[in-house]
Symmetry: C2
Subunit: 113 residues, 2 copies
Amino acid sequence: MAKHDPTLSRLFHALADDTRRGALTRLAKAPAPVTELAEPTGLKLPTVMRHLAVLEEAGLITSFKDGRTRTCALVPEALEPVRSWIEEQRAQWEARLDRLDAFVMQIMKDDEQ
Amino acid sequence: MAKHDPTLSRLFHALADDTRRGALTRLAKAPAPVTELAEPTGLKLPTVMRHLAVLEEAGLITSFKDGRTRTCALVPEALEPVRSWIEEQRAQWEARLDRLDAFVMQIMKDDEQ
DNA sequence: ATCATGCTTAGCCATATGGCTAACTATCGC
DNA sequence: GCGATAGTTAGCCATATGGCTAAGCATGAT
């Protein structure tokens, strides 16, 4: 099944976890072997491997095996779809920030739930 | 229980779903009642409500009830933490794009799995 | 008062996710 | 070859997620 499926949903899902974001920021400094990525997490190796697999399936990282150690590294462009989606939204959301005022008033007065 | 917990994980998770992103882009045009948000999805109301709850818990939308209809609207600032995290990463990732070259070579020749 | 509308709540079901242990494979260093 | 090292695979378990139906509860229209 699609080894690398960098759809928005897959990307966002991959990013929706502290452990995985932690691995990414660690890899932002330099490529690293699995064990080194696992160490600060306090999690067991198989668990970390799963997280790394999620990142790799989303296309956010690559890895290659040299001898018995697997080295992981970022795929910098991978973040682009996410970034552009966010930017698109932000542009539109801000574009109508003005028209929102009246709506906010409604909330103020009704203040439901 | 936290009604509004806009942590990064929660935000990313909320965004990791087509239906929910669909609702957001719809709301980018203007606030809308639940039924209208549900209509294009082909999903049942309770299901859509759950999606909207996820968005609201992440702080991405608000809603208020006027009579029997609940109107939902974006919370434009909500996207900011996500945007800034992405930007931070991008900055760092690109910063060491150069040093990545050697690594890519490795992948080329080993070509694991 | 009654009926349709627009949610809401409760609860069921299948699958996905995140964690673990145990056991296996493949190097590397001696 | 032998033991330690670094992954890897398989499988178990609890909880979360995403979908549904059925039933309930206001509110608006007649």
